[in-house]
């Protein structure tokens, strides 16, 4: 039994790539964390998502020069809590449109390293947050591993009306992700990622990054489209507080199979 598990892992890693990557196979995110991939040619990717709590989001990504991805996004990834602890704890998403920019390099085979920022669009006095990240992605046969770090800066209006700000120096946290495309299901990818996201509280002491873990499945039904189903858990939520989400993605130009 001791030898079986390593052998299975080695066999899985050595079994080779599963399917053509395409724009959706080398997507800009695992489920919620950024990857270090960029597209091998100029391409446009669009995604629409929703969850069982009525939340929704949209994202459009332009990849060009094999180095850069620029995106526009609107979602409820940022959250605010009031109160932030106790049985009456209440957490709500803070919708903010953002733009992201990522520069990626591929210094070695099947691997990439990327750095990027995500900033709010326009000026929002009530609540805004910016993110900077570094991520490294490596493909090992049917498995793609992602690891890096991110930091956030935020500013929002506190309970007393004063602006609560949090600088990027105090919020550096790791992010990790996994994509596994089994050889027997070459169009299906199992996804999991973990990162820390800021939660805006009524005071500076209650404003802090909280972990968020997401897992799910991506099914590339067509060469140019995919559907993702996932579940997201946030720090402080009970098991019943998890969010079930669905995302539809499309890419242009489409991948060749």
């Amino acid at each position: 039994m001791r030898r079986t598990v390593p052998l299975l892992i080695v066999a899985a890693l050595a079994s080779g790539a599963a399917a053509d990557d395409g724009a959706l196979g080398r997507g800009p995110t695992v489920l919620t964390i950024p990857t270090a991939w960029t597209q091998p040619r100029t391409s446009l990717t669009a995604a629409l998502d929703g969850d069982h709590r009525g939340g929704s989001g949209a994202r459009i990504t332009l990849g060009y020069a094999r180095l850069v991805e620029v995106d526009l996004r609107g979602d409820g990834e940022l959250t605010a809590c009031a109160p932030c602890a106790g049985p009456a704890r209440a957490v709500e998403p803070v919708r903010q449109p953002t733009a992201g920019w990522k520069l990626a390099l591929t210094p070695w085979r099947d691997g990439a390293v990327a750095a990027g920022v995500r900033v709010p669009l326009g000026y929002r006095e009530r609540a805004r947050a910016s993110e900077a990240f570094v991520v490294l992605s490596q493909r090992l046969g049917p498995v793609r591993l992602h690891a890096g770090a991110s930091t956030w800066a935020s500013a929002h209006r506190g309970a007393d009306g004063a602006t609560v700000t949090r600088g990027p120096g105090a919020s550096v946290r790791p992010l990790v992700g996994l994509e596994w495309t089994p050889e027997i299901y070459p169009r299906t990818t199992i996804l999991a990622d973990l990162q820390w996201l800021p939660q805006l509280g009524p005071t500076a002491a209650e404003t802090a990054p909280r972990w968020a873990f997401a897992w799910g499945v991506r099914y590339r039904a067509l060469a140019w489209s995919a559907i993702e189903l996932g579940v997201r858990h946030r720090e402080g939520d009970e098991l019943g507080g998890a969010t079930v989400m669905v995302r539809l993605s499309a890419a242009w130009p489409r991948a060749t199979r």
């Binding site: 020069a65 094999r66 180095l67 850069v68 520069l103 900033v119 000026y123």
Partner: protein
């Protein structure tokens, strides 16, 4: 049975090849010109020379009918060459242009004569910018621009807001790389002056004199360095203008620069460091105008020989390292070389 299949295939292929060969027209022998015994050169029109010793310039016999004019050439003969026209050699594509600015910092490169350059941009804070320049005689350029990078605040501690549109005019003159001696960097001396900006009872103007140098290091990297000397004037209401040059040279002179690395065959990674004035309209005179450092990084992608797409990130006041102030920008650069081509053609004539 299985052994016969290859043989049949080979026989079929041989028969097919033989059939195709026999269907071709027979080659027509072309007699080689032989020099006559009297030493006259052979005719050059393709007619065989006489073999009986008659001179070649003798007139044809009168009783023979003239050859038909529009008779098709015999099979296998090369088609007649009716006329030879000189095909002009295609013009080699003009060399790529070194642009007069990185992302924000000026470079030492000048626009070639007759080249029109324009750059338009948008950023996530809602700013719009545009820059148009014209190359004069390979040694100078003139341009007008509208920038969204100059900011002002009512009082110290308040959030600065963008002063836009802020119009400027630029004149630069310079020298191309390696022109005076080997390894001489490209040099440019530029002057930029703004039109007066007026809003909310405030008036502001800026002026900048810069000396920029750019040099290639290896085949993929270009290094840029500049020193800029700033002046500014701020007026609020009826009070007199507060001038930056009254605050001493140390508050006027700044050093900037950047690096461009060709990461792939059609894209550069750029990093630059530049300075921009920021106004505080009700602060004390020494703090009325401050020069703020801006760090930018991004990628310039050659869409075509006449178009480039740039995007990147800039932090308007890198001294504060405030991630919330970071902006993502996109820019489109267009280069028109029509006038340059027309002038080149006229010169050749």
């Amino acid at each position: 049975m299985s052994m016969n299949v290859p043989k049949l295939l080979i026989a079929g292929a041989v028969a097919l090849t033989a059939g195709v060969a026999t269907a071709q027209p027979l080659p027509v022998p072309i007699p080689l010109p032989t020099p006559p015994p009297d030493g006259t050169p052979p005719p050059t029109d393709g007619t065989p020379p006489p073999t009986d010793g008659t001179p070649t310039d003798a007139p044809p016999p009168v009783d023979q009918p003239p050859p038909p004019v529009d008779q098709p050439p015999p099979l296998g003969a090369p088609p007649p060459i009716e006329s030879i026209t000189e095909v002009p050699a295609s013009e080699p594509p003009p060399p790529p242009i070194d642009l007069p600015e990185l992302l924000l910092a000026p470079s030492g490169a000048m626009l070639p004569a007759g080249v029109i350059y324009s750059r338009s941009g948008v950023d996530t804070s809602g700013g719009l910018s545009s820059d148009m320049r014209f190359g004069l005689g390979d040694v100078a350029e003139f341009g007008v621009a509208v920038t969204d990078l100059i900011r002002g605040r009512e009082a110290s501690g308040l959030t600065p807001r963008r002063l836009a549109p802020f119009y400027t005019a630029t004149f630069r003159m310079g020298l191309a790389e390696d022109r005076l001696f080997r390894h001489q960097p490209a040099l440019a001396l530029g002057f930029r002056k703004s039109f007066e900006y007026e809003a909310d009872n405030h008036r502001a103007r800026i002026a900048e004199l810069h000396l920029a140098a750019s040099g290639h290091v290896g085949t993929r990297t270009t290094v840029h360095l500049n020193g800029s000397f700033w002046d500014a004037s701020v007026e609020t209401g009826d009070e007199g203008a507060v001038l930056l040059h009254d605050q001493g040279l140390g508050r006027q002179f700044r050093v900037g620069g950047g690096v461009a690395v060709r990461a792939v065959e059609d894209a550069d990674i750029l990093i630059d460091y530049a300075w921009m004035p920021e106004f505080c309209f009700t602060c004390s005179a020494p703090n009325r105008t401050r020069l703020r450092p801006i760090l930018s990084w991004g990628v310039r992608y050659d869409l075509a020989s006449w178009a480039q797409l740039q995007s990147g990130v800039r932090v308007p006041d890198i001294g504060d390292a405030n991630l919330l102030d970071a902006q993502i920008f996109g820019q489109l650069t267009l280069i028109n070389r029509s006038i340059e081509r027309v002038v080149d053609r006229q010169r050749r004539r």
